[in-house]
């Protein structure tokens, strides 16, 4: 076990108290015994709960640590890298919200399976999501392990196990009911901690982080976004990647009404942007306040530990912990649920609610335990493959699922063969381009070849293959298909 920080008993006590409260909420969710509650929170999610859950899920620890670290090196150019692309992603989520809400299904792969009348596509989509999210979970857990070790001094491996036990327990017990409630608490902690830290940074820099940052930290372009074409490029990477993520799309099924489905994104976007800008203030401020050799991913923890210090580090630590829990619980819920509904049930045949609930809980526990143990193991025995696969998760997901999902929602002419070709071709091209980029043969982000291939295959193959049956099309494009595109 690597122990670099000094054990901070005060912070450790606060962390344990927080964990017990969150666990309590999870156990409370366990009272709801139906599969409908576990999977889609009884489709009764109101606007308040939905919005806080969206904010908490959107802001992961990787976002907070990563974006502040990026801003500590590149300053306000972090805004060009993130803000506008995220906004494009939210716009597309609002566009998709009503369509997914109206069909009243349970999972995103199920949407593809029913829309394209293909069990194969459903299983392919589910396995892609499960594989990529499992790796993402390992990466997220590693990030929190390193951060908690810096702040509390509990050791990386022990921190991972501690965090793992908590979020796996409440996600397994209460499913989406618990995830949404804990997300609400976590959104509050997250917002409060980040705003407080931004306030301290504004105070420490006497406001110059906004009014007069150093030239190298005060420009629009910098880092990964050196030109307008980079700007557009990253906007597409985020903008088309975000609306393919199941942990957002899934919440549309759980919404009480179409208004809530859209409203959670519309309202959540405002809160996320305020927190995101605060994170950029923290990062840019860190670039001004901490020694140059400490900038990067360790900037925020270093700032908290060595510049801010005192009692204020407590709410900030809780904010970071809340950020990791609220994203990992959403991911794990999706992995457990999709395994039981889209893989297990597809193979075994129709199951009753009680049995589905049992399998979902079991799958959540098994996957949760595996990712936690793998993260704990990797923390002492690094496996380069983990970060490599983690890096392909974003582009891979968008390349495989964007075209089948959005064409399925808005284009009657999209066919099963088109969707299968598009999903598999997109993923293969994304992985191929990713490999070429790693070998430094190309500089292009893999999402471009992946997405272009997937869109072209969707269009071309659909034009030459049999259309989906009329009853299915009627379900997805009822009576007035004003927004649907009819092929000539």
């Amino acid at each position: 076990m690597i122990v670099t920080g000094e054990l901070d008993l005060r912070l450790l006590t606060a962390f344990i108290v927080y964990s017990l409260i969150i666990l309590g909420v999870g156990v409370w969710g366990y009272r709801k015994k139906s599969f409908e509650a576990y999977a889609v929170a009884e489709r009764s999610m109101g606007l308040g709960l939905a919005t806080t859950a969206f904010v908490a899920t959107f802001l992961s620890a990787v976002t907070i640590i990563g974006v502040s670290g990026y801003a500590s090196i590149n300053g306000w150019a972090a805004a060009a890298f993130t803000c506008y692309g995220y906004a494009l992603g939210w716009v597309l989520l609002v566009v998709a919200a009503r369509r997914l809400y109206d069909v009243r299904l349970t999972t995103v792969p199920e949407f593809l399976g029913v829309r394209y009348e293909s069990k194969g596509l459903r299983a392919f989509a589910a396995l892609t999501v499960i594989a990529l999210y499992s790796i993402t979970l390992v990466v997220q857990l590693l990030a929190i392990g390193i951060t908690m070790n810096t702040l509390i001094g509990t050791g990386v491996t022990f921190s991972i196990l501690l965090v793992g036990v908590i979020f796996v327990s409440y996600t397994m017990l209460g499913g989406l009911v618990s995830v949404l409630r804990t997300d609400m608490i976590q959104a509050g902690l997250l917002g409060a901690g980040v705003l407080l830290a931004a306030g301290v940074v504004l105070w420490e820099t006497r406001g110059t982080v906004i009014t007069a940052p150093p030239a190298e930290l005060g420009s629009f372009f910098g880092g990964s976004v050196a030109s307008t074409s980079d700007f557009v490029g990253w906007m597409l990477v985020w903008g088309l990647g975000i609306p393919t993520q199941s942990y957002y799309l899934h919440r549309f099924y759980a919404s009480r009404s179409a208004r809530v489905a859209r409203g959670q994104i519309a309202l959540g976007a405002l809160f996320v942007m305020v927190i995101l800008v605060s994170v950029i203030i923290i990062g840019t401020g860190a670039g001004m306040l901490i020694p140059p050799n400490e900038v990067g991913d360790g900037a925020f923890p270093y700032l908290v530990k060595n510049v801010i210090g005192g009692w204020i580090s407590l709410p900030i630590l809780l904010a970071i912990t809340a950020a990791i829990h609220s994203t990992t619980d959403g991911l794990l819920h999706i992995v457990g649920l999709y395994f039981s509904v889209d893989v297990y049930e597809t193979l075994k045949g129709k199951m009753e609610g009680a049995e589905l609930l049992k399998v979902s809980r079991g799958a959540t526990l098994v996957f949760g335990a595996i990712v936690t143990l793998v993260a704990a193991y990797v923390s002492t025995n690094p496996i380069p493959l983990i970060s490599l696969v983690g890096a392909i998760a974003w582009g891979g997901m968008a390349s495989a699922l964007f075209a089948p999902l959005f064409a399925g929602m808005f284009w009657r002419g999209a066919t099963r063969a088109g969707a299968l070709a598009s999903a598999s071709g997109g993923l293969v091209f994304a992985i191929g381009a990713f490999t070429l980029r790693r070998l430094e043969l190309i500089t292009l982000h893999e999402i471009y070849p992946g997405l272009i291939t997937s869109l072209v295959l969707m269009f071309v193959v659909s034009r030459f293959t049999a259309a989906t049956s009329e009853p299915t099309l009627e379900r997805f494009f009822p009576a007035t298909p004003a927004t649907a595109i009819t092929m000539p």
Binding site: C83, A87, T211, R262, A266, V272
Partner: protein
Amino acid sequence: MTVYLILVTAAGAAMVPGLLMLWLERRERDRD
């Protein structure tokens, strides 16, 4: 100056999803 521009445009970008939602809802109401 750059920072103020970033703050204003970021705020504007965050409002787009909400404006889109209102526009979609109005269009759906008009159609019914």
